[in-house]
Protein backbone atom coordinates (compact mmCIF):
# COMPACT_ATOMS: atom_id res chain seq x y z
CA UNK A 1 0.00 0.00 0.00
CA UNK A 2 1.41 3.35 -1.02
CA UNK A 3 1.53 6.38 1.19
CA UNK A 4 -1.23 8.18 -0.71
CA UNK A 5 -3.46 5.07 -0.63
CA UNK A 6 -2.89 4.77 3.10
CA UNK A 7 -3.69 8.43 3.71
CA UNK A 8 -6.81 8.20 1.58
CA UNK A 9 -8.00 5.13 3.50
CA UNK A 10 -7.39 6.76 6.86
CA UNK A 11 -9.18 9.96 5.88
CA UNK A 12 -12.14 7.84 4.72
CA UNK A 13 -12.20 5.78 7.90
CA UNK A 14 -11.28 8.51 10.38
CA UNK A 15 -14.81 9.31 11.59
CA UNK A 16 -15.88 5.68 11.81
CA UNK A 17 -12.77 4.81 13.77
CA UNK A 18 -13.34 7.75 16.08
CA UNK A 19 -16.95 6.81 16.73
CA UNK A 20 -16.01 3.22 17.44
CA UNK A 21 -13.17 4.29 19.76
CA UNK A 22 -15.52 6.73 21.47
CA UNK A 23 -18.13 4.01 21.97
CA UNK A 24 -15.53 2.03 23.91
CA UNK A 25 -13.59 4.75 25.73
CA UNK A 26 -16.44 7.26 26.18
CA UNK A 27 -13.97 10.12 26.06
CA UNK A 28 -13.40 12.29 23.02
CA UNK A 29 -9.72 13.02 23.73
CA UNK A 30 -8.96 9.38 24.47
CA UNK A 31 -10.80 8.36 21.30
CA UNK A 32 -8.79 10.85 19.22
CA UNK A 33 -5.57 9.57 20.77
CA UNK A 34 -6.63 6.00 20.06
CA UNK A 35 -7.33 6.76 16.39
CA UNK A 36 -4.00 8.55 16.03
CA UNK A 37 -2.21 5.64 17.71
CA UNK A 38 -3.96 3.17 15.42
CA UNK A 39 -3.01 5.21 12.35
CA UNK A 40 0.61 5.14 13.52
CA UNK A 41 0.43 1.41 14.24
CA UNK A 42 -1.17 0.66 10.87
CA UNK A 43 1.44 2.80 9.10
CA UNK A 44 4.24 0.84 10.74
CA UNK A 45 2.58 -2.43 9.68
CA UNK A 46 1.14 -1.20 6.39
CA UNK A 47 2.43 -4.27 4.57
CA UNK A 48 -0.16 -6.29 6.47
CA UNK A 49 -2.91 -4.06 5.10
CA UNK A 50 -2.29 -5.49 1.64
CA UNK A 51 -3.22 -8.94 2.91
CA UNK A 52 -6.31 -7.80 4.81
CA UNK A 53 -9.57 -9.09 3.31
CA UNK A 54 -11.64 -6.20 4.61
CA UNK A 55 -9.71 -3.02 5.34
CA UNK A 56 -12.55 -1.43 7.27
CA UNK A 57 -12.90 -4.42 9.59
CA UNK A 58 -9.13 -4.62 9.95
CA UNK A 59 -8.91 -0.99 11.03
CA UNK A 60 -11.87 -1.29 13.40
CA UNK A 61 -10.33 -4.41 14.91
CA UNK A 62 -7.09 -2.51 15.47
CA UNK A 63 -9.05 0.28 17.17
CA UNK A 64 -10.85 -2.21 19.39
CA UNK A 65 -7.60 -3.87 20.49
CA UNK A 66 -5.94 -0.55 21.18
CA UNK A 67 -8.92 0.78 23.12
CA UNK A 68 -8.98 -2.30 25.33
CA UNK A 69 -5.26 -1.84 25.93
CA UNK A 70 -5.95 1.77 26.92
CA UNK A 71 -8.72 0.65 29.25
CA UNK A 72 -6.46 -1.97 30.79
CA UNK A 73 -3.67 0.56 31.29
CA UNK A 74 -5.93 3.14 32.81
CA UNK A 75 -7.66 0.49 34.87
CA UNK A 76 -10.89 2.02 33.72
CA UNK A 77 -12.45 -1.42 33.72
CA UNK A 78 -12.17 -1.52 37.49
CA UNK A 79 -13.61 1.94 37.95
CA UNK A 80 -16.14 1.53 35.21
CA UNK A 81 -19.14 0.62 37.35
CA UNK A 82 -18.40 3.30 39.91
CA UNK A 83 -18.09 5.91 37.19
CA UNK A 84 -21.30 4.80 35.61
CA UNK A 85 -23.20 4.93 38.86
CA UNK A 86 -21.98 8.44 39.67
CA UNK A 87 -22.66 9.62 36.13
CA UNK A 88 -26.13 8.10 36.26
CA UNK A 89 -26.92 9.85 39.54
CA UNK A 90 -25.81 13.15 38.10
CA UNK A 91 -27.80 12.67 34.93
CA UNK A 92 -31.10 12.00 36.67
CA UNK A 93 -30.97 15.48 38.11
CA UNK A 94 -31.51 17.00 34.70
CA UNK A 95 -35.25 17.16 34.24
CA UNK A 96 -35.27 19.26 31.11
CA UNK A 97 -32.94 16.99 29.19
CA UNK A 98 -34.13 16.07 25.70
CA UNK A 99 -34.80 12.48 24.66
CA UNK A 100 -31.93 12.30 22.24
CA UNK A 101 -29.44 13.49 24.83
CA UNK A 102 -30.96 11.07 27.32
CA UNK A 103 -30.59 8.24 24.82
CA UNK A 104 -26.99 9.23 24.25
CA UNK A 105 -26.25 9.12 27.94
CA UNK A 106 -28.02 5.80 28.33
CA UNK A 107 -26.10 4.42 25.39
CA UNK A 108 -22.92 5.23 27.30
CA UNK A 109 -24.24 3.35 30.32
CA UNK A 110 -24.60 0.11 28.36
CA UNK A 111 -21.94 -2.60 28.83
CA UNK A 112 -19.05 -2.09 26.45
CA UNK A 113 -19.86 -5.17 24.32
CA UNK A 114 -23.45 -3.98 23.75
CA UNK A 115 -22.24 -0.46 23.03
CA UNK A 116 -19.74 -1.70 20.49
CA UNK A 117 -22.29 -4.00 18.85
CA UNK A 118 -24.91 -1.22 18.62
CA UNK A 119 -22.37 1.27 17.29
CA UNK A 120 -21.27 -1.08 14.54
CA UNK A 121 -24.70 -2.49 13.67
CA UNK A 122 -27.06 0.44 14.04
CA UNK A 123 -24.84 3.44 13.48
CA UNK A 124 -22.21 2.13 11.11
CA UNK A 125 -24.60 -0.23 9.32
CA UNK A 126 -22.32 -3.24 9.35
CA UNK A 127 -23.44 -6.85 8.95
CA UNK A 128 -23.36 -9.27 11.87
CA UNK A 129 -20.67 -11.36 10.19
CA UNK A 130 -18.40 -8.31 9.84
CA UNK A 131 -19.00 -7.29 13.45
CA UNK A 132 -18.30 -10.86 14.48
CA UNK A 133 -14.83 -10.62 12.89
CA UNK A 134 -14.11 -7.32 14.60
CA UNK A 135 -15.31 -8.31 18.03
CA UNK A 136 -13.98 -11.88 17.88
CA UNK A 137 -17.36 -13.24 18.88
CA UNK A 138 -19.92 -15.34 17.04
CA UNK A 139 -22.57 -13.59 14.99
CA UNK A 140 -25.25 -14.96 17.32
CA UNK A 141 -23.54 -13.47 20.35
CA UNK A 142 -23.40 -10.13 18.56
CA UNK A 143 -27.11 -10.42 17.77
CA UNK A 144 -27.77 -10.95 21.47
CA UNK A 145 -25.65 -7.91 22.40
CA UNK A 146 -27.48 -5.73 19.89
CA UNK A 147 -30.90 -6.97 20.93
CA UNK A 148 -30.23 -6.55 24.65
CA UNK A 149 -28.79 -3.09 24.16
CA UNK A 150 -31.74 -1.98 22.06
CA UNK A 151 -34.21 -3.38 24.58
CA UNK A 152 -32.54 -1.55 27.44
CA UNK A 153 -32.52 1.73 25.54
CA UNK A 154 -36.14 1.27 24.50
CA UNK A 155 -37.23 0.50 28.06
CA UNK A 156 -35.47 3.59 29.37
CA UNK A 157 -37.02 5.66 26.59
CA UNK A 158 -40.49 4.38 27.44
CA UNK A 159 -39.95 5.24 31.10
CA UNK A 160 -38.79 8.71 30.19
CA UNK A 161 -41.75 9.18 27.92
CA UNK A 162 -44.14 8.06 30.65
CA UNK A 163 -42.58 10.52 33.08
CA UNK A 164 -43.18 13.48 30.79
Amino acid sequence: MTRSEFEKLMIQQKDKLFRFAFSILKDSNDAQDAVQDVVLKLWKNRRLLDNAKNLESYCLNAVKNLCFDVLRKQKKHQNYLQTNISEHMEETRFDTIDFVEKLKQELHQLPVQQRMAIELKDFQGMEYEEISDIMDQSANTIRVHVSRGRKKLFEIFKEELANV
Binding site: V100, L103, K104, G125
Partner: protein, 162 residues
Amino acid sequence: MCNKKTKHFSEEDFDLKDFSQSENDNSVEQEFIQSYQQLNDRINEEIPNFNPFEKLEEHKKQRFLQTKRLFAYAASILLVVSLVFVGVNHTRNENQITLTENELAELQENTKLALWHFSKEMNACLANLENAKRINAPLSDVESLRNLNIQFDNPIKDLKIN
Protein backbone atom coordinates in the same frame (compact mmCIF):
# COMPACT_ATOMS: atom_id res chain seq x y z
CA MET B 1 -49.69 -4.32 20.34
CA CYS B 2 -47.50 -5.02 17.37
CA ASN B 3 -48.23 -5.74 13.78
CA LYS B 4 -47.02 -9.20 12.78
CA LYS B 5 -45.70 -7.96 9.45
CA THR B 6 -43.47 -5.30 10.89
CA LYS B 7 -40.19 -5.92 12.63
CA HIS B 8 -39.63 -4.38 15.99
CA PHE B 9 -36.63 -2.37 17.02
CA SER B 10 -35.45 -4.75 19.70
CA GLU B 11 -35.51 -7.71 17.32
CA GLU B 12 -32.13 -8.93 16.19
CA ASP B 13 -33.02 -8.79 12.51
CA PHE B 14 -34.32 -5.27 12.64
CA ASP B 15 -32.20 -3.01 10.48
CA LEU B 16 -32.25 0.71 11.08
CA LYS B 17 -31.61 1.26 7.38
CA ASP B 18 -34.98 -0.33 6.60
CA PHE B 19 -36.86 1.78 9.10
CA SER B 20 -38.05 4.37 6.59
CA GLN B 21 -39.59 1.62 4.50
CA SER B 22 -41.20 -0.20 7.42
CA GLU B 23 -44.74 0.47 8.51
CA ASN B 24 -44.53 0.42 12.22
CA ASP B 25 -47.86 1.01 13.92
CA ASN B 26 -46.35 1.45 17.36
CA SER B 27 -46.10 5.20 17.89
CA VAL B 28 -43.80 4.89 20.93
CA GLU B 29 -41.44 2.67 19.01
CA GLN B 30 -41.58 4.96 16.02
CA GLU B 31 -40.78 7.94 18.16
CA PHE B 32 -37.99 6.00 19.78
CA ILE B 33 -36.48 5.02 16.45
CA GLN B 34 -36.63 8.61 15.27
CA SER B 35 -34.83 9.71 18.44
CA TYR B 36 -32.37 6.90 17.86
CA GLN B 37 -31.66 8.15 14.36
CA GLN B 38 -31.34 11.68 15.66
CA LEU B 39 -28.90 10.34 18.22
CA ASN B 40 -26.84 8.90 15.40
CA ASP B 41 -26.88 12.26 13.60
CA ARG B 42 -25.94 14.09 16.77
CA ILE B 43 -23.00 11.78 17.46
CA ASN B 44 -21.87 12.37 13.88
CA GLU B 45 -22.11 16.12 14.38
CA GLU B 46 -20.05 15.86 17.54
CA ILE B 47 -17.15 14.16 15.84
CA PRO B 48 -14.25 16.57 16.29
CA ASN B 49 -12.27 17.71 13.29
CA PHE B 50 -8.94 16.25 14.31
CA ASN B 51 -5.85 15.26 12.40
CA PRO B 52 -5.55 11.44 12.43
CA PHE B 53 -1.95 11.71 11.22
CA GLU B 54 -0.76 13.88 14.12
CA LYS B 55 1.11 11.12 15.92
CA LEU B 56 2.35 9.67 12.65
CA GLU B 57 3.81 13.06 11.67
CA GLU B 58 5.33 13.40 15.13
CA HIS B 59 6.81 9.93 14.80
CA LYS B 60 8.28 10.76 11.40
CA LYS B 61 9.71 14.02 12.73
CA GLN B 62 11.26 12.23 15.70
CA ARG B 63 12.67 9.57 13.44
CA PHE B 64 14.20 12.24 11.20
CA LEU B 65 15.70 13.99 14.24
CA GLN B 66 17.02 10.70 15.57
CA THR B 67 18.66 9.92 12.23
CA LYS B 68 20.08 13.43 12.14
CA ARG B 69 21.41 13.05 15.68
CA LEU B 70 22.85 9.66 14.83
CA PHE B 71 24.65 11.08 11.80
CA ALA B 72 25.97 13.99 13.84
CA TYR B 73 27.13 11.58 16.53
CA ALA B 74 28.80 9.29 13.97
CA ALA B 75 30.44 12.30 12.30
CA SER B 76 31.72 13.61 15.62
CA ILE B 77 33.14 10.19 16.50
CA LEU B 78 34.75 9.98 13.07
CA LEU B 79 36.21 13.45 13.55
CA VAL B 80 37.58 12.60 17.00
CA VAL B 81 39.07 9.32 15.75
CA SER B 82 40.60 11.12 12.76
CA LEU B 83 42.07 13.82 14.99
CA VAL B 84 43.49 11.23 17.39
CA PHE B 85 44.94 9.27 14.47
CA VAL B 86 46.46 12.39 12.89
CA GLY B 87 47.84 13.47 16.27
CA VAL B 88 49.43 10.08 16.94
CA ASN B 89 50.85 9.93 13.44
CA HIS B 90 52.20 13.44 13.71
CA THR B 91 53.91 12.70 17.05
CA ARG B 92 55.39 9.49 15.64
CA ASN B 93 56.71 11.36 12.59
CA GLU B 94 58.17 14.07 14.81
CA ASN B 95 59.97 11.44 16.93
CA GLN B 96 61.28 9.73 13.84
CA ILE B 97 62.70 13.03 12.50
CA THR B 98 64.49 13.77 15.78
CA LEU B 99 65.99 10.28 15.91
CA THR B 100 67.03 10.40 12.27
CA GLU B 101 68.81 13.70 12.76
CA ASN B 102 70.77 12.38 15.73
CA GLU B 103 71.51 9.15 13.97
CA LEU B 104 72.46 10.95 10.82
CA ALA B 105 74.96 13.16 12.61
CA GLU B 106 76.44 10.15 14.37
CA LEU B 107 76.52 8.13 11.20
CA GLN B 108 78.17 10.94 9.29
CA GLU B 109 80.86 11.22 11.91
CA ASN B 110 81.44 7.46 12.04
CA THR B 111 81.48 7.15 8.26
CA LYS B 112 84.06 9.93 7.92
CA LEU B 113 86.25 8.28 10.52
CA ALA B 114 85.83 4.85 8.96
CA LEU B 115 86.71 6.13 5.51
CA TRP B 116 89.76 7.96 6.83
CA HIS B 117 91.09 4.81 8.56
CA PHE B 118 90.13 2.62 5.61
CA SER B 119 92.04 4.81 3.16
CA LYS B 120 95.01 4.86 5.52
CA GLU B 121 95.05 1.03 5.72
CA MET B 122 94.46 0.79 1.98
CA ASN B 123 97.40 3.07 1.24
CA ALA B 124 99.64 1.03 3.52
CA CYS B 125 98.57 -2.18 1.76
CA LEU B 126 99.15 -0.73 -1.70
CA ALA B 127 102.55 0.62 -0.69
CA ASN B 128 103.55 -2.82 0.60
CA LEU B 129 102.29 -4.42 -2.62
CA GLU B 130 104.24 -1.99 -4.81
CA ASN B 131 107.30 -2.55 -2.74
CA ALA B 132 106.94 -6.33 -3.05
CA LYS B 133 106.61 -6.04 -6.83
CA ARG B 134 109.66 -3.78 -7.08
CA ILE B 135 111.93 -6.11 -5.19
CA ASN B 136 110.42 -9.16 -6.93
CA ALA B 137 109.47 -10.64 -3.64
CA PRO B 138 108.37 -14.29 -3.70
CA LEU B 139 104.67 -14.98 -4.05
CA SER B 140 104.47 -16.26 -0.47
CA ASP B 141 105.50 -12.81 0.75
CA VAL B 142 102.82 -11.12 -1.36
CA GLU B 143 100.21 -13.52 0.00
CA SER B 144 101.32 -12.63 3.43
CA LEU B 145 99.92 -9.16 2.76
CA ARG B 146 96.53 -10.69 3.36
CA ASN B 147 97.53 -11.23 6.92
CA LEU B 148 98.47 -7.60 7.39
CA ASN B 149 97.26 -6.52 10.81
CA ILE B 150 94.99 -3.59 11.01
CA GLN B 151 96.31 -0.94 13.33
CA PHE B 152 95.12 -1.43 16.84
CA ASP B 153 94.49 2.26 17.35
CA ASN B 154 91.71 2.24 14.73
CA PRO B 155 88.76 3.49 16.83
CA ILE B 156 86.08 2.09 14.58
CA LYS B 157 87.46 -1.40 13.94
CA ASP B 158 84.99 -2.93 16.38
CA LEU B 159 82.14 -0.60 15.51
CA LYS B 160 79.03 -2.41 14.31
CA ILE B 161 77.13 -0.40 11.80
CA ASN B 162 73.73 -1.82 10.89
